[in-house]
Protein backbone atom coordinates (compact mmCIF):
# COMPACT_ATOMS: atom_id res chain seq x y z
CA UNK A 1 0.00 0.00 0.00
CA UNK A 2 2.01 2.96 -1.21
CA UNK A 3 0.40 6.27 -0.38
CA UNK A 4 2.48 8.10 -2.95
CA UNK A 5 0.79 6.26 -5.81
CA UNK A 6 -0.66 8.88 -8.11
CA UNK A 7 -4.26 8.73 -9.22
CA UNK A 8 -3.05 8.32 -12.78
CA UNK A 9 -1.12 5.16 -11.96
CA UNK A 10 -4.05 3.71 -10.05
CA UNK A 11 -6.33 4.42 -12.98
CA UNK A 12 -4.24 2.36 -15.38
CA UNK A 13 -3.46 -0.32 -12.84
CA UNK A 14 -7.18 -0.83 -12.24
CA UNK A 15 -7.73 -1.35 -15.96
CA UNK A 16 -4.84 -3.64 -16.79
CA UNK A 17 -2.73 -5.13 -14.02
CA UNK A 18 -5.44 -5.38 -11.37
CA UNK A 19 -8.46 -5.85 -13.57
CA UNK A 20 -11.37 -5.99 -11.20
CA UNK A 21 -12.99 -8.90 -12.98
CA UNK A 22 -10.07 -11.04 -14.01
CA UNK A 23 -7.92 -10.69 -10.90
CA UNK A 24 -10.41 -9.80 -8.17
CA UNK A 25 -13.38 -11.77 -9.55
CA UNK A 26 -15.87 -9.00 -8.87
CA UNK A 27 -19.07 -8.76 -10.87
CA UNK A 28 -18.99 -12.35 -12.07
CA UNK A 29 -22.76 -12.93 -11.91
CA UNK A 30 -23.69 -10.33 -14.47
CA UNK A 31 -20.51 -11.09 -16.39
CA UNK A 32 -21.64 -14.67 -16.97
CA UNK A 33 -25.24 -13.75 -17.64
CA UNK A 34 -24.97 -10.74 -19.95
CA UNK A 35 -21.82 -11.46 -21.96
CA UNK A 36 -23.57 -13.27 -24.82
CA UNK A 37 -23.27 -10.39 -27.27
CA UNK A 38 -21.07 -7.37 -27.75
CA UNK A 39 -23.99 -4.95 -27.88
CA UNK A 40 -25.56 -5.77 -24.53
CA UNK A 41 -22.13 -6.14 -22.93
CA UNK A 42 -21.23 -2.64 -24.02
CA UNK A 43 -24.51 -1.24 -22.70
CA UNK A 44 -24.04 -2.76 -19.28
CA UNK A 45 -20.36 -1.78 -19.30
CA UNK A 46 -21.12 1.89 -19.92
CA UNK A 47 -23.69 1.94 -17.15
CA UNK A 48 -21.19 0.31 -14.78
CA UNK A 49 -18.44 2.84 -15.61
CA UNK A 50 -20.75 5.73 -14.86
CA UNK A 51 -22.23 4.35 -11.65
CA UNK A 52 -18.90 3.05 -10.35
CA UNK A 53 -17.12 6.40 -10.80
CA UNK A 54 -19.88 8.38 -9.12
CA UNK A 55 -20.57 5.98 -6.26
CA UNK A 56 -16.90 5.63 -5.39
CA UNK A 57 -16.77 9.41 -4.97
CA UNK A 58 -20.02 9.46 -3.00
CA UNK A 59 -19.02 6.55 -0.79
CA UNK A 60 -15.66 8.14 -0.10
CA UNK A 61 -17.31 11.34 1.08
CA UNK A 62 -19.91 9.51 3.15
CA UNK A 63 -17.32 7.26 4.75
CA UNK A 64 -14.73 9.88 5.64
CA UNK A 65 -17.01 12.77 6.51
CA UNK A 66 -19.95 10.98 8.10
CA UNK A 67 -19.08 7.49 9.32
CA UNK A 68 -15.57 8.11 10.64
CA UNK A 69 -16.42 11.23 12.69
CA UNK A 70 -19.52 9.52 14.10
CA UNK A 71 -17.57 6.34 14.86
CA UNK A 72 -19.98 4.19 12.87
CA UNK A 73 -17.52 2.47 10.54
CA UNK A 74 -19.02 -0.94 11.25
CA UNK A 75 -22.20 0.18 9.52
CA UNK A 76 -20.36 0.88 6.28
CA UNK A 77 -21.82 -2.19 4.53
CA UNK A 78 -25.38 -1.05 5.12
CA UNK A 79 -24.59 2.57 4.31
CA UNK A 80 -22.73 1.72 1.07
CA UNK A 81 -25.55 -0.52 -0.11
CA UNK A 82 -28.09 2.22 0.54
CA UNK A 83 -25.95 4.87 -1.19
CA UNK A 84 -25.53 2.63 -4.24
CA UNK A 85 -29.20 1.65 -4.42
CA UNK A 86 -30.36 5.24 -4.00
CA UNK A 87 -27.90 6.54 -6.59
CA UNK A 88 -28.94 3.92 -9.13
CA UNK A 89 -32.59 4.76 -8.55
CA UNK A 90 -31.98 8.48 -9.05
CA UNK A 91 -29.91 7.93 -12.18
CA UNK A 92 -32.66 5.79 -13.64
CA UNK A 93 -35.27 8.48 -13.02
CA UNK A 94 -33.07 11.28 -14.38
CA UNK A 95 -32.19 9.37 -17.54
CA UNK A 96 -35.80 8.40 -18.14
CA UNK A 97 -36.90 12.03 -17.76
CA UNK A 98 -34.20 13.79 -19.77
CA UNK A 99 -32.77 11.38 -22.30
CA UNK A 100 -35.20 8.83 -23.70
CA UNK A 101 -32.58 7.67 -26.20
CA UNK A 102 -30.08 6.83 -23.49
CA UNK A 103 -32.87 5.23 -21.49
CA UNK A 104 -33.65 2.85 -24.32
CA UNK A 105 -29.98 1.85 -24.55
CA UNK A 106 -29.18 1.58 -20.84
CA UNK A 107 -32.62 1.25 -19.27
CA UNK A 108 -32.76 -2.46 -18.63
CA UNK A 109 -29.21 -2.59 -17.34
CA UNK A 110 -29.50 0.04 -14.67
CA UNK A 111 -31.48 -1.98 -12.09
CA UNK A 112 -29.04 -4.86 -12.59
CA UNK A 113 -26.23 -2.68 -11.30
CA UNK A 114 -27.50 -2.51 -7.73
CA UNK A 115 -26.71 -6.18 -7.30
CA UNK A 116 -23.40 -6.02 -9.16
CA UNK A 117 -20.86 -6.85 -6.50
CA UNK A 118 -18.13 -4.98 -8.35
CA UNK A 119 -19.63 -1.65 -7.27
CA UNK A 120 -19.64 -2.57 -3.59
CA UNK A 121 -16.27 -4.27 -4.02
CA UNK A 122 -14.65 -1.09 -5.32
CA UNK A 123 -15.98 0.85 -2.34
CA UNK A 124 -14.61 -1.74 0.09
CA UNK A 125 -11.21 -1.96 -1.60
CA UNK A 126 -10.88 1.79 -1.51
CA UNK A 127 -11.41 1.77 2.28
CA UNK A 128 -9.04 -1.14 2.87
CA UNK A 129 -6.28 0.41 0.76
CA UNK A 130 -6.68 3.84 2.35
CA UNK A 131 -7.07 5.78 -0.88
CA UNK A 132 -7.39 9.55 -0.98
CA UNK A 133 -10.35 11.17 -2.73
CA UNK A 134 -8.69 11.51 -6.14
CA UNK A 135 -7.25 8.01 -5.89
CA UNK A 136 -10.69 6.61 -5.09
CA UNK A 137 -12.33 8.27 -8.05
CA UNK A 138 -9.51 7.12 -10.33
CA UNK A 139 -9.86 3.61 -9.00
CA UNK A 140 -13.62 3.66 -9.55
CA UNK A 141 -13.29 4.91 -13.12
CA UNK A 142 -10.42 2.55 -13.96
CA UNK A 143 -12.22 -0.38 -12.40
CA UNK A 144 -15.34 0.34 -14.44
CA UNK A 145 -13.37 0.65 -17.68
CA UNK A 146 -11.44 -2.54 -16.93
CA UNK A 147 -14.67 -4.40 -16.23
CA UNK A 148 -16.18 -3.13 -19.46
CA UNK A 149 -13.09 -4.13 -21.41
CA UNK A 150 -13.33 -7.67 -20.09
CA UNK A 151 -17.05 -8.11 -20.65
CA UNK A 152 -16.96 -6.66 -24.18
CA UNK A 153 -14.06 -8.94 -25.10
CA UNK A 154 -15.97 -11.89 -23.71
CA UNK A 155 -19.09 -10.86 -25.62
CA UNK A 156 -17.06 -10.83 -28.84
CA UNK A 157 -15.60 -14.26 -28.18
CA UNK A 158 -18.94 -15.81 -27.27
CA UNK A 159 -20.60 -14.30 -30.34
CA UNK A 160 -17.96 -15.98 -32.48
CA UNK A 161 -18.42 -19.27 -30.65
CA UNK A 162 -22.15 -19.59 -31.28
CA UNK A 163 -21.70 -22.31 -33.89
CA UNK A 164 -18.92 -24.12 -32.06
CA UNK A 165 -19.50 -27.60 -30.70
CA UNK A 166 -18.98 -27.49 -26.96
CA UNK A 167 -19.39 -30.65 -24.84
CA UNK A 168 -22.95 -30.62 -23.50
CA UNK A 169 -22.18 -30.34 -19.74
CA UNK A 170 -19.68 -27.56 -20.42
CA UNK A 171 -22.13 -25.35 -22.30
CA UNK A 172 -22.99 -21.92 -20.93
CA UNK A 173 -21.23 -21.05 -17.67
CA UNK A 174 -18.64 -23.82 -17.85
CA UNK A 175 -17.05 -22.76 -21.10
CA UNK A 176 -17.41 -19.08 -20.21
CA UNK A 177 -15.37 -19.63 -17.06
CA UNK A 178 -12.65 -21.41 -18.98
CA UNK A 179 -12.47 -18.63 -21.57
CA UNK A 180 -12.30 -16.14 -18.71
CA UNK A 181 -9.38 -18.16 -17.38
CA UNK A 182 -7.57 -17.80 -20.68
CA UNK A 183 -8.27 -14.07 -20.68
CA UNK A 184 -6.93 -13.80 -17.14
CA UNK A 185 -3.83 -15.63 -18.30
CA UNK A 186 -3.36 -13.02 -21.03
CA UNK A 187 -3.86 -10.20 -18.53
CA UNK A 188 -1.12 -11.63 -16.32
CA UNK A 189 1.20 -10.45 -19.05
CA UNK A 190 0.57 -6.89 -17.85
CA UNK A 191 1.51 -7.51 -14.22
CA UNK A 192 5.14 -6.48 -14.49
CA UNK A 193 4.25 -2.92 -15.43
CA UNK A 194 2.64 -1.48 -12.30
CA UNK A 195 1.47 -3.05 -9.08
CA UNK A 196 -1.16 -1.94 -6.63
CA UNK A 197 -2.11 -4.13 -3.73
Amino acid sequence: MELGLSAFVIFFAAIFTNNILLTNFLGMCSFLAVSREVKSSLGLGLAVIFVMTCTSALNYLVYHHLLVPLDLVHFRYIVFIIVIAAFVQIVEMVIERFSPVLYVILGIFIPLITVNCAILGVALFMIIRDYSFSQSVAYGAGGGIGWTLAIVAMGGIRQRMKGAKVPRPLEGPGITLIIAGLMALAFIGFTGMIQIQ
Binding site: T23, M28, L32, R76, Y77, I78, I81, V115, P169, T176
Partner: protein, 207 residues
Protein backbone atom coordinates in the same frame (compact mmCIF):
# COMPACT_ATOMS: atom_id res chain seq x y z
CA UNK B 1 -43.24 -37.33 6.90
CA UNK B 2 -41.72 -34.23 8.41
CA UNK B 3 -38.36 -35.91 8.50
CA UNK B 4 -38.40 -36.97 4.86
CA UNK B 5 -39.37 -33.43 3.87
CA UNK B 6 -36.41 -31.97 5.73
CA UNK B 7 -34.23 -34.54 4.04
CA UNK B 8 -35.57 -33.54 0.63
CA UNK B 9 -34.80 -29.88 1.29
CA UNK B 10 -31.29 -30.80 2.28
CA UNK B 11 -30.56 -32.97 -0.73
CA UNK B 12 -31.87 -30.40 -3.15
CA UNK B 13 -29.72 -27.65 -1.63
CA UNK B 14 -26.63 -29.80 -1.59
CA UNK B 15 -26.81 -31.38 -5.02
CA UNK B 16 -29.96 -31.17 -7.15
CA UNK B 17 -30.23 -27.40 -6.94
CA UNK B 18 -26.74 -26.66 -5.76
CA UNK B 19 -26.43 -22.87 -5.82
CA UNK B 20 -22.99 -22.82 -7.40
CA UNK B 21 -22.89 -25.35 -10.22
CA UNK B 22 -26.62 -25.68 -10.95
CA UNK B 23 -27.82 -22.12 -10.54
CA UNK B 24 -24.48 -20.34 -11.08
CA UNK B 25 -24.89 -18.03 -8.10
CA UNK B 26 -22.24 -16.65 -5.79
CA UNK B 27 -19.43 -17.16 -8.25
CA UNK B 28 -17.38 -14.13 -7.19
CA UNK B 29 -16.35 -15.43 -3.81
CA UNK B 30 -16.21 -19.01 -5.09
CA UNK B 31 -13.32 -17.86 -7.25
CA UNK B 32 -11.67 -15.37 -4.97
CA UNK B 33 -11.23 -17.15 -1.66
CA UNK B 34 -10.47 -20.68 -2.82
CA UNK B 35 -6.67 -20.57 -2.95
CA UNK B 36 -6.32 -21.86 0.63
CA UNK B 37 -8.48 -24.46 2.37
CA UNK B 38 -8.50 -22.60 5.68
CA UNK B 39 -9.82 -19.34 4.24
CA UNK B 40 -12.39 -21.28 2.27
CA UNK B 41 -13.63 -23.13 5.33
CA UNK B 42 -14.14 -19.89 7.25
CA UNK B 43 -15.87 -18.31 4.27
CA UNK B 44 -18.14 -21.35 3.91
CA UNK B 45 -19.08 -21.29 7.58
CA UNK B 46 -19.77 -17.54 7.45
CA UNK B 47 -22.01 -18.01 4.46
CA UNK B 48 -23.91 -20.90 6.06
CA UNK B 49 -24.51 -18.74 9.11
CA UNK B 50 -25.66 -15.69 7.16
CA UNK B 51 -27.89 -17.65 4.79
CA UNK B 52 -29.53 -19.64 7.57
CA UNK B 53 -30.11 -16.68 9.87
CA UNK B 54 -31.39 -14.33 7.17
CA UNK B 55 -33.71 -17.04 5.87
CA UNK B 56 -35.03 -17.52 9.39
CA UNK B 57 -35.51 -13.81 9.95
CA UNK B 58 -37.11 -13.13 6.58
CA UNK B 59 -39.46 -16.02 7.14
CA UNK B 60 -40.38 -14.91 10.65
CA UNK B 61 -41.14 -11.40 9.41
CA UNK B 62 -42.86 -12.49 6.22
CA UNK B 63 -46.41 -11.64 7.29
CA UNK B 64 -45.59 -8.09 8.39
CA UNK B 65 -43.19 -7.14 5.56
CA UNK B 66 -44.86 -4.97 2.92
CA UNK B 67 -44.40 -6.68 -0.44
CA UNK B 68 -43.22 -3.56 -2.23
CA UNK B 69 -40.21 -2.86 -0.05
CA UNK B 70 -39.29 -6.47 0.70
CA UNK B 71 -36.02 -6.31 -1.26
CA UNK B 72 -34.81 -3.43 0.87
CA UNK B 73 -35.85 -5.22 4.06
CA UNK B 74 -34.09 -8.41 2.98
CA UNK B 75 -30.91 -6.53 2.10
CA UNK B 76 -30.87 -4.84 5.49
CA UNK B 77 -31.41 -8.15 7.30
CA UNK B 78 -28.58 -9.77 5.34
CA UNK B 79 -26.28 -6.81 5.88
CA UNK B 80 -26.87 -6.92 9.64
CA UNK B 81 -25.80 -10.55 9.84
CA UNK B 82 -22.77 -9.86 7.66
CA UNK B 83 -21.71 -7.10 10.05
CA UNK B 84 -21.94 -9.59 12.94
CA UNK B 85 -19.76 -12.07 11.05
CA UNK B 86 -17.28 -9.35 10.13
CA UNK B 87 -16.90 -8.15 13.72
CA UNK B 88 -16.54 -11.73 14.99
CA UNK B 89 -13.85 -12.56 12.44
CA UNK B 90 -11.93 -9.36 13.17
CA UNK B 91 -11.95 -10.13 16.88
CA UNK B 92 -11.13 -13.83 16.86
CA UNK B 93 -9.40 -14.60 13.56
CA UNK B 94 -7.68 -11.38 12.52
CA UNK B 95 -5.31 -13.10 10.06
CA UNK B 96 -8.08 -14.77 8.12
CA UNK B 97 -10.21 -11.64 8.29
CA UNK B 98 -7.37 -9.77 6.60
CA UNK B 99 -6.85 -12.47 3.97
CA UNK B 100 -10.54 -12.51 3.08
CA UNK B 101 -10.48 -8.71 2.87
CA UNK B 102 -13.51 -7.24 1.14
CA UNK B 103 -15.02 -10.62 0.35
CA UNK B 104 -16.63 -10.87 3.79
CA UNK B 105 -18.52 -7.67 3.10
CA UNK B 106 -19.37 -8.92 -0.35
CA UNK B 107 -21.42 -11.72 1.19
CA UNK B 108 -24.18 -9.08 1.14
CA UNK B 109 -24.28 -9.08 -2.64
CA UNK B 110 -23.88 -12.85 -2.84
CA UNK B 111 -26.92 -13.74 -4.89
CA UNK B 112 -27.36 -17.10 -3.13
CA UNK B 113 -28.71 -15.49 0.01
CA UNK B 114 -31.04 -13.06 -1.69
CA UNK B 115 -32.15 -15.86 -3.99
CA UNK B 116 -33.05 -18.16 -1.12
CA UNK B 117 -34.89 -15.38 0.72
CA UNK B 118 -36.91 -14.56 -2.38
CA UNK B 119 -37.56 -18.08 -3.56
CA UNK B 120 -38.04 -19.97 -0.32
CA UNK B 121 -38.14 -18.05 2.95
CA UNK B 122 -40.80 -15.62 1.75
CA UNK B 123 -43.37 -18.42 1.39
CA UNK B 124 -42.41 -20.86 4.13
CA UNK B 125 -42.48 -21.15 7.89
CA UNK B 126 -39.30 -20.40 9.88
CA UNK B 127 -38.13 -23.97 10.53
CA UNK B 128 -37.96 -25.22 6.91
CA UNK B 129 -36.49 -21.86 5.92
CA UNK B 130 -33.67 -22.24 8.40
CA UNK B 131 -33.04 -25.73 7.07
CA UNK B 132 -33.12 -24.51 3.49
CA UNK B 133 -30.59 -21.80 4.34
CA UNK B 134 -28.25 -24.29 5.97
CA UNK B 135 -28.61 -26.67 3.00
CA UNK B 136 -27.85 -24.01 0.39
CA UNK B 137 -24.95 -22.76 2.46
CA UNK B 138 -23.58 -26.29 2.75
CA UNK B 139 -23.95 -26.79 -1.00
CA UNK B 140 -21.90 -23.64 -1.53
CA UNK B 141 -19.29 -24.62 1.05
CA UNK B 142 -19.00 -28.09 -0.47
CA UNK B 143 -18.19 -26.76 -3.94
CA UNK B 144 -15.76 -24.21 -2.56
CA UNK B 145 -13.92 -26.75 -0.45
CA UNK B 146 -13.57 -29.12 -3.40
CA UNK B 147 -12.19 -26.37 -5.61
CA UNK B 148 -9.91 -25.14 -2.84
CA UNK B 149 -8.64 -28.66 -2.15
CA UNK B 150 -7.31 -29.04 -5.68
CA UNK B 151 -6.02 -25.48 -5.93
CA UNK B 152 -4.07 -25.68 -2.68
CA UNK B 153 -2.82 -29.19 -3.40
CA UNK B 154 -1.56 -28.35 -6.88
CA UNK B 155 -0.51 -24.77 -6.15
CA UNK B 156 1.26 -25.16 -2.81
CA UNK B 157 1.50 -28.95 -2.42
CA UNK B 158 -0.37 -28.71 0.87
CA UNK B 159 -3.85 -29.22 2.35
CA UNK B 160 -4.79 -27.05 5.36
CA UNK B 161 -1.11 -26.10 5.45
CA UNK B 162 0.00 -29.73 5.86
CA UNK B 163 2.42 -30.87 3.18
CA UNK B 164 1.05 -33.80 1.15
CA UNK B 165 3.01 -33.80 -2.08
CA UNK B 166 6.37 -35.60 -2.21
CA UNK B 167 9.60 -33.63 -2.02
CA UNK B 168 10.26 -33.28 -5.74
CA UNK B 169 6.86 -31.74 -6.44
CA UNK B 170 6.95 -28.50 -8.40
CA UNK B 171 4.18 -26.10 -7.38
CA UNK B 172 1.77 -25.13 -10.12
CA UNK B 173 1.86 -21.45 -9.29
CA UNK B 174 -0.85 -20.78 -11.85
CA UNK B 175 -3.34 -22.67 -9.69
CA UNK B 176 -3.23 -20.12 -6.86
CA UNK B 177 -3.38 -17.20 -9.28
CA UNK B 178 -6.52 -15.91 -10.95
CA UNK B 179 -6.58 -18.12 -14.09
CA UNK B 180 -6.33 -21.28 -12.00
CA UNK B 181 -9.53 -20.32 -10.22
CA UNK B 182 -11.40 -19.96 -13.50
CA UNK B 183 -10.09 -23.23 -14.91
CA UNK B 184 -10.80 -25.15 -11.73
CA UNK B 185 -14.36 -23.92 -11.33
CA UNK B 186 -15.05 -24.38 -15.03
CA UNK B 187 -13.74 -27.92 -14.80
CA UNK B 188 -15.76 -28.58 -11.67
CA UNK B 189 -18.97 -27.43 -13.35
CA UNK B 190 -18.14 -29.66 -16.30
CA UNK B 191 -17.68 -32.74 -14.11
CA UNK B 192 -20.66 -31.98 -11.87
CA UNK B 193 -23.01 -31.43 -14.77
CA UNK B 194 -21.92 -34.62 -16.48
CA UNK B 195 -23.60 -36.51 -13.63
CA UNK B 196 -26.97 -35.90 -12.04
CA UNK B 197 -30.28 -35.00 -13.61
CA UNK B 198 -30.39 -33.30 -16.97
CA UNK B 199 -34.13 -32.78 -17.20
CA UNK B 200 -35.53 -29.31 -16.89
CA UNK B 201 -32.18 -27.83 -17.76
CA UNK B 202 -32.25 -25.02 -20.21
CA UNK B 203 -29.78 -25.21 -23.10
CA UNK B 204 -28.09 -22.09 -21.75
CA UNK B 205 -27.61 -22.90 -18.09
CA UNK B 206 -26.71 -19.40 -16.92
CA UNK B 207 -29.26 -16.86 -15.89
Amino acid sequence: MAKSKSMAIFVSGLWKENPVFRQILGICSALAVTNLMMNTLIMGLSLIFVTAMSNLTVSALRSITPVRIRMMVQTLIIASYVIIVDILLKAHLPDISEALGPYVGLIITNCIIMGRCEAFARHNTPWPSLLDGVASGCGYAFVLLTVAFFRELLGFGTVFGVRLMPGGWTNWTIMVMAPGAFFMLGGFIWVARSFGPRDGEKPEGAR
